[in-house]
Amino acid sequence: MIPLLLDLIPRRKIDVGTLLGNRDIPGLVNALSSRNPDVQSEAMRALGEIGSAAVGQIVPALKQRNRRLRLGAIGALAEIQDPGAVPALAEMMRDPVSEIRWQAAIALGEIGSQEAIAFLIPGLEDADKYVRYGSALSLAKIGYQPAGDAGWAWFYAARQDWDRLRELGSYALPPLHNLLRDNDSEVRVRAVRMIGDIGDGDSGPVLIGALGDPDRQVRWEAVLASQKCGVPPMCLPRGLCRRPRMQKNPLVAGFLNFLLPGLGYGYLGKWWGIMIFQIELSITLWLHQTETAKYGVDVGEFYTYLVLFPLYFLLAIHAWYLAKNLPEEPA
C-alpha cells in the first residue's frame, strides 16, 4: 500500500546515463522499479553493460515484493546473460505472478545455458499460456529436442501448434487436458475440440469435468467431444450440473426489499427499483409529518411503521418470489 501511495508523488526523472557513468549499481537496480517503462529499459540495458559484476546486487531484488522491480531485475539478468543467474531465475519460474514467470522463462532462454532446460520444461505445463509459450520459445532457442512423442506433445501444446499436436494422437492428450486449466476460454475450447478429434475414451473424465466449465462454449464443445470419445450421454447431465450459476439469491432480494423497499428489485436488475425506493422514502416522510401533525405529539414514527411494515413485508415476499422464478441462465 505504502509503495503505491509513494508512486503518486511526482518524482524527478532518473538519469540512467549518469548512474551508468558513476557505475552506481544500487541506483540502477532502484531504477528498475520505475513506473516509466523507458527508464526501466534503460536501466536494464545499463546493467547489461556493466555485466556479471552487477549480478550479485540484482539477485536480491528478485525477492522484493515490488512487481515492477522483480520484472526489471529479471530483464537485467537477461541482458547480462550470466549463467550464474540461472538458479535465481529458476526460482522465479515458481512465482505466483504469471508475468514474472513469463519474464523468467524468456530470461532463461536469453542466457542460453543448457542448465536452464530442466527449469523450463515444467514451464510447458504452466496454467498460463504466456508462460507456456515463453518456455517453449526459450527451449527452442537453447536447442532443446524433446525425447519422444510425449515430450513433443507438451512442446507443441505450449506453442499452440494445433496441427502438429493433432498428428500426435493420444500422446497429445495429457497436454490437452492440462490446457483445460488455462484462463483463456478460447484455448479451452480448442483443447476440448481437439480432444474430441482424437476421440480417445480415456478423455471421458476430463470432458465430464469440462462440462462444469464457466464458459458456455467450452461446455457445449465438451458435449460434442464426449460424443466422439464414446462417453455415454447418460454420464453428461451430472457433469453439467457442476457449472457455476449466476443466480440471484431470493433471500437477499427479499431482505433488501424489506429493509429498503425497492432496492431488492434493483438487486434483481429492475431499473425501476430505485424509483420505488424513492417513492417509498417520500411516502414515509409524508406519513410521518401527517400523523405527527394530526396527534400533536411525535407519534408519527409508530403509526408510519404500523402502516408501512405490512407493505414492506409484501414487497419482500414479491422480490423473493421474483428471484425464485427468474429464468435460468442458458446452459
Binding site: G204, L224, M234, R238, L240, M275, E328
Partner: protein
C-alpha cells in the same frame, strides 16, 4: 460403448474425492450388498461428487425393487438426488419409470435434470417414450435436442417425414447433413432460430446461406435482428445470397434487439431523480450527482418555506432542468446501447 461398460472402465473413480480429511468414506459396496436402497439414495446428495457417482451406480444395480423409492427420489428438491435417481432408473430400465421420467423431461426446473430424464427415456427402450421425445427435438435448448436425438436413435425411431428428419439432424448437430435437404429444411431452421445458444444460431444462418433460397428471406430478416453481432454478420451474408433486397438489410439491422441500457428508463430516472439515470448507464459519478441534487432540493425547499413560498416551488423550478437532462441521458443511452453492428 455402453453406459455400464463405460462405468466399468472406472470413469467414476477418477472424479476427485474430498474425503481423506478425517471424514469417513461411506462403504457403498456394503450398502449395495445389503440392498439398502434408502441409505444409497441419501448418499446421492453427498458433498463428495465421487460418493454421489458411486451411489447412483450402485442403485443402478439394485434392480426392480429400487424403482419405487427411486421414483420418489426423482421428486427430491435436490438436483443431485434427482439426477442420481434418474441415472439409476436409466440403468435399471424398468418401464414403471416412464411416467415419472416423462414428467421430469417436460417440466423440471433445471435443464440438467430434464436432459438426464430425456436420455433416461431413451435407455428405457419402450416405444411409449417416443411421443414424449419427438416434440423435444423442437426445444430451444441444444442440450435437450441433442438428448432427444440420442434417445430416439437408441429407441430405433425413424422420422415419418422430412421435417422430423431435419429436426433429428439438427438435434444431432449434423449441420453438413442438413444442407442436402435444401428448401425442405427451411421451416425447421426458421423455427430453431429462437435457440438460446448463439453458436447454433450461427450454424443455422450459415446453412440458410448455403441453401440460398428466397424463401429463407424471412428467417434472414429475423437473424439480422439477432442480439449477437456474429449471428447478425452471418445473416447479412445469408440475406444477400438468399436475394433479400440490399437496401432492406441496413434497415433491418437497425431494428435489432438492443442489449445495452434502456434509453427510456435512463431518461425517466434522470428526470425524476437526477443522477440516477447517469448511474444506470454506467457513469460512476451519477450517484454523487443525485446526492448533490437532493441536497439542493431540500435546501431550496427549506429556504422557500422560510420566505413563505410553497416548498413545492423548488421542484417546479427543478423539473424543467431535469427534463432537459433526461433527454440528454436518453440520447447518451441510445448511443451506448449495442453500438457494434
Amino acid at each position: 460403448m455402453r453406459y455400464d461398460q463405460f462405468r466399468s472402465i472406472g470413469i467414476f473413480s477418477v472424479v476427485p474425492s474430498i474425503h481423506g480429511r478425517g471424514q469417513s468414506v461411506p462403504d457403498i459396496g456394503q450398502l449395495k450388498q445389503r440392498g439398502d436402497v434408502s441409505s444409497l439414495i441419501s448418499l446421492l446428495n453427498n458433498p463428495d461428487p465421487s460418493v454421489g457417482w458411486r451411489a447412483a451406480e450402485a442403485l443402478g444395480t439394485c434392480g426392480a425393487m429400487a424403482v419405487p423409492p427411486l421414483i420418489r427420489a426423482a421428486r427430491s428438491p435436490s438436483a443431485l438426488v434427482r439426477i442420481g435417481a434418474i441415472e439409476a432408473l436409466a440403468a435399471i430400465r424398468d418401464p414403471r419409470a416412464l411416467d415419472s421420467l416423462t414428467r421430469i423431461a417436460r417440466r423440471d426446473r433445471l435443464l440438467e435434470v430434464r436432459w438426464a430424464a430425456v436420455l433416461a427415456l431413451g435407455e428405457l427402450g419402450v416405444p411409449e417414450a417416443v411421443p414424449v421425445l419427438v416434440p423435444l427435438l423442437r426445444d430451444a435448448s441444444p442440450y435437450l435436442r441433442y438428448g432427444a436425438a440420442t434417445a430416439l436413435d437408441r429407441a430405433g425411431w425413424q422420422p415419418g417425414d422430412i421435417g422430423d428428419q431435419v429436426y433429428l439432424m439438427i438435434g444431432r448437430q449434423d449441420w453438413t447433413g442438413i444442407r442436402k435437404y435444401g428448401t425442405d429444411a427451411l421451416l425447421p431452421l426458421r423455427d430453431l432460430l429462437r435457440d438460446a445458444d448463439e453458436k447454433s444460431r450461427e450454424e443455422i444462418v450459415s446453412v440458410l446461406r448455403e441453401i440460398g433460397d428466397p424463401q429463407a428471406c424471412g428467417s434472414c430478416r429475423n437473424a439480422l435482428k439477432d442480439r449477437n453481432p456474429r449471428v447478425r454478420w452471418k445473416a447479412v451474408l445469408a440475406a444477400i445470397d438468399c436475394g433479400l433486397a440490399s437496401h432492406e438489410i441496413p434497415l433491418t439491422v437497425a431494428g435489432r434487439e438492443r442489449t445495452g441500457p434502456d434509453p427510456v428508463a435512463a431518461a425517466v430516472l434522470n428526470f425524476l431523480f437526477l443522477g440516477i439515470g447517469y448511474n444506470y448507464i454506467g457513469k460512476w459519478w451519477g450517484f454523487p450527482v443525485f446526492i448533490t441534487y437532493m441536497f439542493i432540493i431540500f435546501l431550496a425547499q427549506f429556504i422557500f418555506a422560510e420566505l413563505s413560498y410553497p416548498p413545492v416551488l423548488a421542484l417546479v423550478i427543478a423539473y424543467p432542468v431535469t427534463a432537459l437532462l433526461g433527454i440528454h441521458t436518453y440520447y447518451l443511452a441510445e448511443r451506448m446501447s449495442d453500438e457494434e453492428m
